[in-house]
């Protein structure tokens, strides 16, 4: 086996991959651009999320409003940013934050109903760095 050729081929392949990688590093937010308000409505039914994805992606610098609607009372906690809200059944509750720090932050429910007890991750808020 000719190592020298192998080396050149892999060098070329690597360069191609490197070149290709630069162009498409885009993380589309669920909505909006930086400095805009991103408003996402989230419905909870029967202790579960009524949406397909359990990840909400935003871009650093955006103002985020998560509007919750639940069929049961619960307390929600956005970790990291440490935002806590009380949700009453059938009433909209807003979790608002300015997404200044990047990261993947879980939103947990501290149980449902009158005898709330527990700790369950409902979804993740991902704040990606801006372009």
């Amino acid at each position: 086996m000719n190592w020298h050729n192998g080396y050149l081929v892999s060098m070329a392949a690597g360069l191609c991959i490197w070149a290709a990688s630069g162009s498409d590093e885009v993380h589309a937010a669920d909505a909006g651009n930086a400095a805009e308000v991103v408003r996402v409505e989230i419905v909870l039914a029967d202790h579960k999320l009524a949406r397909e994805s359990n990840v909400i992606r935003v871009i650093q610098g955006q103002v985020v409003e998560l509007v919750w609607l639940s069929d049961e009372a619960t307390e929600l906690h956005l970790h990291g940013y440490d935002v806590e809200i009380q949700v009453k059944p059938g009433q909209h509750a807003v979790m608002a934050l300015a997404a200044h720090a990047t990261g993947r932050f879980p939103i947990t429910s501290h149980g449902f109903g009158a005898n709330a007890n527990g700790h369950q991750t409902l979804l993740y808020l991902e704040v990606y760095p801006g372009e």
Binding site: W3, G14, W18, E25, V55, H100, Q120, T121, Y124
Partner: protein, 523 residues
């Protein structure tokens, strides 16, 4: 088993499902997964640069030999840093921290974020000390509080009854090797990654007390230094990581260590016992190139090889625990009929089904790591020409090359914990003012709020990927250099390195892949 009980067990385990994804022992991680393109770029760079290293060795360049070094003790800064007074203060500080962790754990606030014990043990000491050991040097050997306390008792004994010696003075049996340290490391790793109570201050303090007693008992039986070399898991762990570091201690003109049981250690490199006994003018504290401490001419002991494998496997397993793959795998293990008897036995011991499944997975993972490494060592041996092959057994090959994997593990450790250390490490600021959670405010910082924006995701991504690729290249280089020293025959060297290269590329890809997975948090 009657059906009712079986159903009950199933309900119990299902009830615990949300907590399946249990990440690292304590506190949360907020890492964003490394983007796919960066992951592919990193992987491609690792493969590509491996060929560059191969090409350098193809040309027959021998880049190893006596590495350059400078004695820091001949500089003002070096003498200041190694000043006896400063060292005494550092040791006393470490003893105070050990006592603080125990007292806070036993009598402080049971909330892990209002008690200094969990942050001190899991973040500052475990994660932080690995950084210091790998990047700066073996600080642990200097400040090990168990050693300091034992020495204080020794001194007091000698003062009270001149001529007496502390301990039984049994000579350390050769066959025991580093196995005590292997067992203690397994216990520690289990506590870190699986133990449900690892962040409960009181339980943590109890574990620290038990470990302290084991350490002192070992020192009492076999002597202080033999136990530090073979039994004290953290001296071995940080010592192995510090082989990568750019500093070493050495004795000029010392020859091989004669007084201690470290065999074939020319100039007593990093041998604390000989260093302590040597006259001051023979002592060197050197700056040296990175990673040269990992080059070996002779195989390390079997027990030490297993120790390294446990170390590597556990670091990777920690990353794996936070991935969606583990969530699925763990769930499958919980529900598997075939595994149920084993799960129930372990559940009896650990007290919860998730811990039982994680314990099993950890054991299998370590075993799998060991088998894969041995298989590739076999491959390396098989690639050698028959004349060379006849001289080395599989075990010898495995014991020769295992240290060259450490840079990948160290780089992965740095990458995996970077944001964790920066964010969770900030809890030390309020905790320093109020270590027991009693409402004190010693330094006026007890209201400090953790800044989650201290590190940018992009910075973490690039640092992580670059660290892993660089670690990989150093690993490939080390393995080649060791092969050159040992096998001599140039063709044999290159052929033997093909399986090692495949193993290292696989290990690096796995490390990068874990970083590209979304963190699934404790539910």
């Amino acid at each position: 088993m009657p059906p009712s009980r079986r159903q009950l067990t199933l309900v119990l385990t299902l009830g615990m499902m949300p907590v399946m994804a249990q990440a690292h022992g304590f506190a949360q991680r907020y890492d964003l997964p490394v983007p796919l393109t960066l992951y592919i770029t990193g992987a491609a760079a690792a493969v590509l640069l491996s060929f560059v290293v191969m090409a350098i060795f193809m040309r027959g360049q021998r880049l190893i030999g006596d590495y350059p070094r400078t004695n820091l003790l001949l500089t003002h800064v070096g003498r200041l840093l190694a000043h006896p007074l400063l060292l005494v203060l550092l040791r006393l500080f470490a003893v105070a921290i050990l006592l603080l962790v125990v007292v806070a754990g036993l009598y402080g606030d049971p909330n892990p974020f209002k008690n200094i014990a969990p942050t001190m043990v899991w973040v500052i000491w475990w994660v932080g000390f690995a950084y210091v050991s790998g990047l700066a040097g073996n600080l642990w050997a200097v400040i090990n509080p168990w050693k300091t306390i034992y020495e204080a008792v020794e001194k007091a004994m000698r003062w009270l009854r001149p001529g007496s010696r502390l301990g039984f003075g049994i000579s350390y049996p050769q066959w025991l090797g580093d196995w005590p340290a292997v067992l203690l490391l397994l216990w520690f790793v289990w506590a870190e990654l699986v133990w449900p109570a690892s962040d409960t201050p009181a339980n943590l303090a109890q574990a620290v007390i038990i470990y302290s007693l084991i350490t002192w008992f070992g020192m009492f039986l076999f002597g202080k230094h033999p136990w530090l070399r073979h039994g004290e898991a953290f001296s071995l762990l940080f010592g192995l990581l510090a082989r990568f570091a750019p500093t070493e201690i050495r004795l000029s003109g010392h020859g091989n260590c004669a007084d201690c049981d470290v065999q074939n250690n020319t100039d007593g490199i990093n041998c604390c016992e000989c260093f302590e006994q040597a006259p001051r003018d023979k002592r060197e504290w050197n700056l040296r190139p990175w990673a040269v401490g990992l080059l070996v001419e002779r195989p390390i002991s079997l027990s030490r090889m297993v120790f390294v494998i446990v170390m590597l496997a556990s670091v990777t397993f920690d990353g794996l625990l936070a991935t969606p793959l583990w969530t699925d795998l763990g769930r499958w293990m919980l529900l598997s009929e075939g595994l149920r008897p084993m799960v129930l036995i372990l559940q009896g011991i650990t007290g919860d089904a998730v811990a039982a499944v994680s314990t099993m997975a950890l054991m299998l993972f370590v075993l799998g790591f060991l088998l894969i490494y041995l298989a590739f060592s076999g491959g390396m041996r098989w690639m050698l020409p028959p004349s060379v092959r006849a001289e080395v057994s599989l075990a010898v090959v495995a014991r020769l090359f295992v240290l060259s994997l450490i840079p990948i593990a160290l780089a992965y450790h740095l990458a995996h914990y970077l944001s964790f250390l920066m964010i969770v490490g900030q809890y030390m600021i309020p905790l320093a003012s109020d270590p027991l959670g009693l409402g004190w405010n010693l330094f006026g910082t007890n209201l400090y709020m953790v800044n989650i924006g201290i590190v940018d995701a992009r910075f973490v991504w690039y640092t992580s990927v670059i660290a892993i690729v660089v670690g990989h290249i150093i690993a490939v280089y080390l393995a080649h250099a060791v092969a050159l020293r040992v096998f001599q025959d140039h063709r044999a060297v290159l052929r033997s390195q093909i399986p090692m290269l495949i193993l290292m590329v696989g290990y690096t890809m796995l490390s990068l892949w874990i970083l590209a997975q979304p963190v699934i948090e404790l539910g």
